[in-house]
Amino acid sequence: MVISNKPLRFILVALVACLPLISFANPEEGSVKVKTEAAHEVTEEAHAEPTDVKSKIKEFINHHLLDAHDFTLSVNEETGEHYGFSLPIILWDNGLQVFSSSKFHHGEKTAEHNGNYYVLHHEKIYKTEADGTLTEGEHGHPTNATPLDLSITKSVVGILGIAVLMFLLFAGLAKSYGKNNGIASGAGRFFEPIVLYIRDEIAIPNIGEKGYKKYMSYLLTIFFFIFFLNILGLTPLGFNVTGNIAITASLALLTYLITTFSANKSYWGHIFWMPGVPTPMKFILAPIELLGTIIKPFSLMIRLYANILAGHVVLMSIIGLMFIFKSWIGSTLSFGLAFALSILEILVAFLQAYIFTMLSALYFGAGNEEHHHEESH
């Protein structure tokens, strides 16, 4: 894939242009003698409540990166009013406990249900006594009991939404073939080349002409699932699904399970008894190879998680810079930077989906490889 270096160059230029502004924001009074009007404003703003805006942004970003138990689009800070809607909370705590997330009042109150008291702390539900106090543990995390939280969180809503969207889109595409004499029509027409690309450029070269068919459903589903969720993460709705380690872990686990259970004899032969090396080496290689099978999906998990998470953090930090600068130069520049980065993030959204699918296909291919040199029949 050829990545145009134009946006990169633009980002570099914008960064360099921003540098003096950033230094104005944290000025050393003595060194800077001549200041523009805009810089004055910046410094004044920064001096007036320097930690407040920054820490608020930091808190907002941290909050965004976590899953949420209610769907909040925006918050009015002065009145404390949240615009959005509540989501159902489903807990397994001596039986199924179902109630609305509005009981938590966005984490501000202790929720009471069926005589149990729960507290929402950093988007994690803890069981407490009636007064709702959390006992701090040694790592700063509460040591209270955590019931199994099967709530329909914001991420679950995102997953369900994308699942429905994918189903409608691709079932529609499948149906359009019958109606239109084997030629796609409608929105599916845009996705048909991508489906073909995954088949011809990812599945067949990596798995082989013979066995690729049984993996196609998984590869296609995972590609579009990650791609759509990545794109959803770039919308202002504030989803961060593929940047959540639970999501990437489950995807990587599925890749690992499929590789493990569909692998042939020669794959296991190469792991436990590597052919073509001296016998003592075989004993050394076996645990390394076995560890390798786990490291591969683990790297899948971390790669997707870290890429999307980093994209969100950087993008939100740059958007946050706008509110720190509050000057027409700095805010415009950081807006331009955020815009360029968003475009880059769209590329990353596609690229990460591609890489995840590609590597999954590669692992399936390794599990299905035929080694002719050691086959006796």
């Binding site: 976590l66 899953d67 189903f167 691709f170 459903s217 489950s250």
Partner: protein, 166 residues
């Protein structure tokens, strides 16, 4: 790392697995299988169409070559036939000429022979006529000569005179 483990939401993990696996099977049945089948079918169709077009083109070429060959053969045959006809004509003309010549010669020969025989016959007739005529003349003369004694004596004398000379 500790924060990461603490933030790991087991509920989300379960939801994701359930929804995703469900999605795979649903899409497999309602989307991927029909899509891939339709695409495969279409590709096969295109491949077959191309192949049959190529075959048709080859067949056309063969047909054209055949036509060319047949035309060539026909032309050759025609040429041969023309040549044969010409030869035959020449031969016939020559034969006729020879025949006519021979016939003519023969007819001339016959005519000559006929003329000869007619001539001979005429000559014979003429001779007969002449001899009869001369006989009758001689008879008449003799009759005339021998009609009186004087004349007879004169003749005898004359003849005797002739004999004396000899």
């Amino acid at each position: 790392m500790d924060k990461l483990i603490n933030d790991f939401s087991f509920g989300l993990f379960i939801w994701q697995i359930v929804i995703f696996v469900g999605l795979i099977f649903l899409l497999k049945k309602f989307a991927w299988k029909p899509i891939l089948d339709a695409v495969n079918e279409r590709e096969e169709g295109i491949k077959n169409a191309l192949l049959s077009a190529e075959n048709a083109r080859k067949e056309m070429q063969n047909l054209q070559a055949d036509n060319q060959r047949i035309l060539q053969e026909a032309r050759l045959e025609r040429d041969n036939m023309l040549k044969d006809a010409r030869e035959m004509k020449e031969k016939m003309v020559a034969d006729a000429k020879n025949e006519a010549q021979a016939q003519g010669l023969k007819m001339i020969e016959q005519a000559k022979a006929a003329i000869e025989s007619e001539k001979n016959a005429a000559m014979a007739e003429l001779k007969l006529q002449v001899s009869t005529l001369s006989l009758s003349i001689a008879e008449k003369i003799l009759k005339d000569e021998l009609s009186n004694k004087e004349a007879q004596t004169k003749l005898v004398e004359k003849m005797l005179g002739d004999v004396k000379i000899n």
